[in-house]
């Protein structure tokens, strides 16, 4: 597409845990998907802002009504505050690439936003309404499709995008993926966190820790298979800082997503035309933050051995693979197509 100074294309990966944006002006940013409002006037005075987004919100969480508004990649139902939070999140992401909402000579923003593969039509309508006013034109695509498009893995490839809220699968067969080609599982980063929290609590009932600590430990130490080192973390037990070994708990929690992921992979492979199954098995691509679990590609490759062998690779840049792919779509779409999709 011909780009002009009065148009900015952006690709957004709106994630449960992290959201990223890639823009046609070369800017790329990733933020934690948190939005918070000061709980009272004292907090408002201390944080000096009406609303905080990303790490800023997380770091000041004790003073905020903190929201993580995207459940399974779509806007959580039931609370107006979560809708506002999504708007703030998208507005903030767009501001990071240099667009001020009411700035003079503001270019037209054409946004492609990634949503989970099986997001219901009503959820996408919902998201469209929520983003109304933040961008000028909007397209929504499935997250794994965006990844595949960005990597140009358009034929005989299977993308597994494992984020915090969902694991999204998409088989690329040279045409726009149908529902049959895609699948979403709730077994992803968050389910690992829950499992890890439960296991540690069972073994150390007096240990005090929060979900944020669990997430930090997982990001640093997650693995499947044999551990390279023991994982020792420090937690207060009855008020005293105490070191505990969570190696086994980490392994069990991380490996909990393997059976559903491998089962879904096998099911989707079976649906591929028999003559192409071998090619697809040898082009399995992992993306998303949770794909960074150490040993995950090897574990999936091992399962593929039972199906006749295959190759699993991890995208070079799991954090931006989705937003870069969305940006590629935004750039390739013609102005005429964009005109049909104004908000």
């Amino acid at each position: 597409m011909e780009e002009t100074n009065d148009t900015l294309c952006v690709g957004i990966d709106l994630g449960t845990s992290r959201s990223s944006i890639s823009a046609s002006n070369g800017e790329r940013h990733v933020i934690d998907s948190y939005v918070g409002w000061p709980v009272d006037m004292v907090a408002r005075k201390l944080v000096k802002k009406a609303v905080l987004v990303g790490r800023d919100a997380l770091d000041n969480r004790s003073m905020l009504d903190l929201r993580r508004p995207l459940e399974r990649g779509v806007v959580k139902e039931g609370s107006e505050k979560d809708h506002e939070a999504v708007q703030e999140l998208v507005r903030y992401l767009i501001s990071l690439v240099g667009i001020k909402p009411k700035g003079k000579n503001k270019p037209k923003v054409r946004a492609v936003v990634g949503v989970p593969a099986e997001a219901f039509r009503v959820s996408r309508q919902h998201l469209r309404s929520t983003i109304d006013g933040v961008a000028d034109n909007l397209m929504m695509v499935s997250e794994p499709f965006a990844v595949a498009y960005g990597l140009e893995a358009l034929l005989h490839a299977l993308v597994i995008d494992i984020g915090a809220g969902t694991a999204d699968f998409c088989v690329m067969q040279g045409h726009y993926p149908t529902e049959e080609d895609q699948k979403t599982l709730p077994n992803a980063g968050d389910s690992i966190d829950e499992q890890l929290m439960k296991l540690i609590r069972e073994r150390h009932p007096d240990a005090q820790f929060s979900i944020h600590m669990i997430r930090e430990w997982k990001e640093k130490h997650s693995f499947v298979g044999e551990p390279k080192d023991r994982i020792i973390v420090s937690v207060p037990i009855r008020g005293k800082a105490t070191e505990i070994d969570i190696t086994q708990e980490m392994r069990t929690a991380c490996e909990s997503i393997l059976p559903p992921v491998c089962e879904t992979l096998a099911t989707l492979l079976m649906k591929v035309e028999p003559e192409y199954q071998d090619k697809v098995r040898n082009n399995v691509i992992l993306a998303g933050g949770t794909s960074l679990i150490a040993g995950l590609p090897a574990a999936i490759t091992k399962v593929l051995q039972e199906l006749g062998g295959g190759r699993v690779s991890v995208v070079n840049d799991p954090v931006f693979a989705g937003s870069d792919g969305s940006l590629a779509i935004a750039r390739d779409a013609s102005p005429a197509d964009w005109d049909k999709l104004s908000l």
């Binding site: 709980v39 459940e71 139902e77 039931g78 609370s79 107006e80 505050k81 039509r121 009503v122 996408r124 309508q125 469209r128 309404s129 909007l138 397209m139 929504m140 695509v141 499709f145 498009y149 140009e152 358009l154 034929l155 040279g174 045409h175 726009y176 779509i329 390739d332 779409a333 197509d337 049909k340 999709l341």
Partner: protein, 335 residues
């Protein structure tokens, strides 16, 4: 490279078409609303109203497996009302869709107030104040305040007696209530919280709400997962939209009125949850947690007549405001 470009072009056509379909559905929704309010709302409205009860009956039957047969005629009615939009509607003919409020020309004739608990104490403050006595007191006050309103007000219980949840639901349904309001008092950790919460029917993944729903549903005889399954099927129910509108009206009124007397009060807003009394009732229904008995200061406030009267007044204002909005919507539809 040329091959890739062709493939990309084909993929992009798919992306654009898919998005146009989503956008068309959004626009169809907006146009349908406009068109019905302007005139030909009546007969599809009557069909929708008549069939809504069938949708609901289907929705609350856990063993029904096939999709609601009533969904198609509802769409059929809508399609006839918007001739220019036939192709778009044809695509979604069998999908259940939210039914517009304007299609149901009803007014509020009977309001059922449900004072939570009774017999069983419900939540109890450290000082011994019980949820059952607060909810009954507020409900009785509310009935008194609403005397003279253009609708009948009924209470599910008027004394301290146990009443199962299904009996409360049956009471509202048998009396053909047009609005159901269940009053409860919360218990939350940490005890520093003073919060208002307003619920209407819908699924939730929030562990705290699930726990609350388990507590309030404890004598239902069904498991929470049973209800969650049912709820996933009924979320397009017209009742849900009406319940949401009612919930927002009440939530705003309550918070606005009580904040002056209880400055640390927090409004946790409107949420969805699978409470039994919200699932089984066939009319717009909400459940309000009017205070937190876990907070000793708030429990102290609840011991004062003035504060309880304020709660009842705010609830009455909310109900009147919702009923008035309903009437206005009706008048607009008729004209």
């Amino acid at each position: 490279m040329a091959g890739i470009d062709d493939t990309k072009a084909q993929l992009l056509r798919g992306v654009v078409q898919d998005n146009i379909n989503v956008l068309r559905d959004v626009r169809v929704g907006r146009l349908e609303r406009r068109k019905r309010r302007n005139g030909s709302w009546l007969w599809p409205g009557l069909i929708a109203a008549g069939l809504t009860s069938l949708v609901i009956s289907w929705s609350v039957l856990p063993k029904t497996e096939s999709p609601p047969v009533s969904a198609a005629p509802v769409q059929q009615g809508a399609a006839s009302a918007s001739d220019a939009l036939e192709p778009a509607l044809a695509e979604t003919f069998f999908e259940p869709k939210p039914i517009d409020r304007g299609t149901i020309p009803l007014s509020i004739k009977t309001v059922v107030i449900d004072p939570g608990h009774g017999g069983d104490p419900g939540a109890t403050s450290a000082s011994g104040l019980t949820e059952k006595e607060i909810t009954l007191d507020v409900a009785l006050r509310l009935r008194r305040i609403l005397q003279g309103a253009p609708f009948k007000v009924l209470l599910t219980r008027e004394t301290d007696r146990f009443m199962s949840l299904d009996k409360r639901v049956n009471f509202a349904n048998e009396n053909k209530a047009d609005l159901f309001l269940s009053i409860h008092v919360n218990w939350m950790e940490p005890h520093s919280i003073r919060a208002l919460e307003t619920y209407y029917v819908g699924p939730t993944d929030d562990p705290a709400t699930l726990e609350l729903a388990s507590r309030e549903n404890k004598d239902s005889g069904y498991s929470l997962s049973d209800y969650k399954k049912i709820l996933e099927k009924i979320y397009v129910d017209v009742r849900r939209d009406e319940s949401r509108a009612l919930a927002y009206t009440i939530s705003r009124r309550l918070y606005r009125s009580l904040k002056a007397h209880n400055p640390k009060l927090e409004n946790r807003g409107v949420k969805t949850a699978p409470f039994v009394v919200l699932i089984g009732t066939q009319m717009p229904a909400i459940l309000v947690e009017i205070a937190c008995l876990s907070n000793e200061d708030e429990a102290e406030l609840l011991t004062t007549e003035n504060y309880r009267e304020n709660i009842a007044m705010a609830l009455a204002k909310g109900i009147r405001s919702y009923a008035h909005a309903f009437k206005v919507a009706d008048r607009k539809a008729v004209h």
